[in-house]
Amino acid sequence: MKNSSEPKHHKILIANRGEIAIRIMQACRKLGHAFVALFTEPDRHSEHCVLARKLGGEDSLYRVSSYLDANEIFAVADQAGATAIHPGYGFFAEDYRFARRVVQRERKLIFIGPSWQVIRELGDKINTKRLARKLGVPTVPGSDKPVTDDLEAEHIAKSLFDFQKEQGINNPVILVKASAGGGGMGIEEVADLDKFRSTLRRIKNYAKRQFRDEGVLIEQRIFDFNHLEVQVVSDRTGQNPVHFGTRNCSVQSLGHQKRIEVAPGFDPSSLRYAFDARKVLEDITEYSLRMAREAGYDNVGTWEWIVSPTGQPFLMEVNTRIQVENGVSARIATIKGKGDVDLIAEQIRVGLGAPLGYSQKDIALNGVGIEYRIIAEDPDNKFAPWVGRITSFGWPEQEWLKLHSQVPTDREYEIPTDFDPNLALAIIWGKDLAEAKARGVEFLNALKLEGVNASGEALKSNIDFLRRKTETILAF
């Protein structure tokens, strides 16, 4: 809640790399702020370094030992005289301790992201679930606190089976997971109530060993769901959140990594759904804003939802950061009739203390946006990453196309192996779903991406996979 009636010039340290670093630099330039960029030795030829030199000069670029060492970031921030830190996504974006250190150290900086208290509160899945339930927001049926008592656990498990049967689910399944776990560790499915006891014991033992906490969560396993998101933006008052519509991120790799994101989340105007899709979209945006207001949410964030085949939405979690796919929501939005919305610029603006300056009624959404994540991987072989050198990369420019990439188009590029494998994000816009899909396919057909690895094998990418999946976008 900083008062910044007069615009102040900031120097923003970008604690990230690649595509997001580039977009933050561009947003800084747009807003008239200086920036400091970081790189590590293996990244020295990365496009974000090239661009940082171009936009900010040699002095705006610092070499650090690791993007993950907070001390490096602060040392550079102090040396370069930065006034704020933008964490991007990944790395420190959702680390409330980092956010707290930014604002509590002796030389204080501004953290461009939600306040650390918000990150802490909504970063905890159990906390989030309880907040949702407190506000009447639907969550996945099951426990909303760590269960340690075996009898209680069994009672919950039995209720969940009965509950699902009552809803006409023939083969009910429940999930037992370590409440302190995450990232797919310590989770098991139980389809047979008789086997619950042994599963529970196994998970509890695992959790006790691994996390020194034997609490478990027991939830309904929901099958064949769609993954939707609500993009929320709010200023430092935390009281006036708006949303930028919904996204559907149901096209994913085997490891549940998103590959295509589409805005809006459903398209009832051209597709038939087994439920009232319009109402679902309205509901989840309303629920998301309700929670944002309650939590005093004060920056950009994403509420993640799963929607069951019968059209029931359940809140999954809140991502207290800008997301990779923010651009696809921005692409279909206008604010007070003005297009070319840049959510990252908005994030920086409100992050530095400016008031939001518009309300929900000023935001209009039109058309359909599709975002492709272009990745060197082999979708036929469990999405195995492909490592090698990109020899040629290019695409015809289109006014409906926006492409973000750290891969240079004018020279060869060795894919760094240490980081997430996105090569490029392509955002396509069409006035309706049919046009967006047609343009998407057109783009993918024209995209040139070639390379070779050490054994002389040609580059493998997910372009075919993306093309194939474009057919059924938003169908459910």
Binding site: R63, N71, A454
Partner: protein, 216 residues
């Protein structure tokens, strides 16, 4: 054929290795060994528990971390850095001249005279289990390799593939990688010596043992 004489002559001309000391992270540097010519020693003690000579301190976020000499030698030159200056990670602080020991000279000569098999890709390498057991129990020099033999397992991004040895047949004279360490592409994995040249190689080694004079 190996021209040992020529190799030795080359090494005698420059009987040392240059070790560049770089800033391990960002921070303000404060030199301790700030003069060229200062003698330094590497880590010592039975368990290498005594750190090497303190070369500099690097201060970051109110913590001063020591930078110690990794090897015995002398400070050759200082980098283009002022005392008290902020340095970025990886910046060159100084160069240390480390005079080669007999073992190091032998290793160098072997590297140039053995047939090296290079890592085709970056990753972690392991020997095939049978080979691994043989190496661990009887030493690498009991293992005979042939062109096209499946010798390594390459582990990269949690996937494992087998790697075939290509090159002349012979015994594995030297192993250049450690299990669990990531090996860069084109770094040597093993040095192979054809059985016919084994006698010659051993002769070279014993010659260096007797002829090379170590310097402090």
């Amino acid at each position: 054929m190996i021209d040992v004489k020529e190799l030795l002559r080359e090494l005698r001309e420059e009987p040392y290795e240059k070790i560049v000391i770089r800033a391990p992270h960002s921070g303000k540097v404060e030199f301790v060994a700030s003069e060229p010519g200062v003698r330094v020693v590497g880590p010592g003690g039975t368990w290498k528990e005594v750190p090497g000579t303190l070369l500099a301190r690097l201060e970051r976020e109110q913590v001063k971390r020591p930078i110690n000499a990794p090897q015995k030698g002398e400070v050759m030159s200082l980098g283009d850095v002022q005392n008290g200056q902020f340095v970025q990670a990886g910046q060159e602080l100084m160069t240390i001249r480390h005079f080669l020991t007999k073992e190091e000279v032998i290793a160098r000569i072997l590297r140039r005279s053995l047939s090296l098999f290079l890592a085709p890709e970056k990753g972690k390498y392991y020997f095939f289990p049978e080979v691994d057991i043989k190496i661990k129990t009887k030493g690498s020099q009991t293992v005979h390799v042939e062109d096209g033999m499946e010798l390594f397992i390459l582990s990269r991004m949690k996937r494992e593939t087998s790697v075939r040895y290509t090159g002349p047949g012979g015994i594995i004279y030297a192993v250049y990688f450690e299990t669990n360490d990531s090996v860069d592409r084109d770094a040597p994995l093993i040095g192979v010596c054809p059985e016919s040249q084994l006698g010659q190689i051993q002769e070279v080694v014993s010659r260096i043992q007797s002829e090379w004079e170590e310097r402090d």
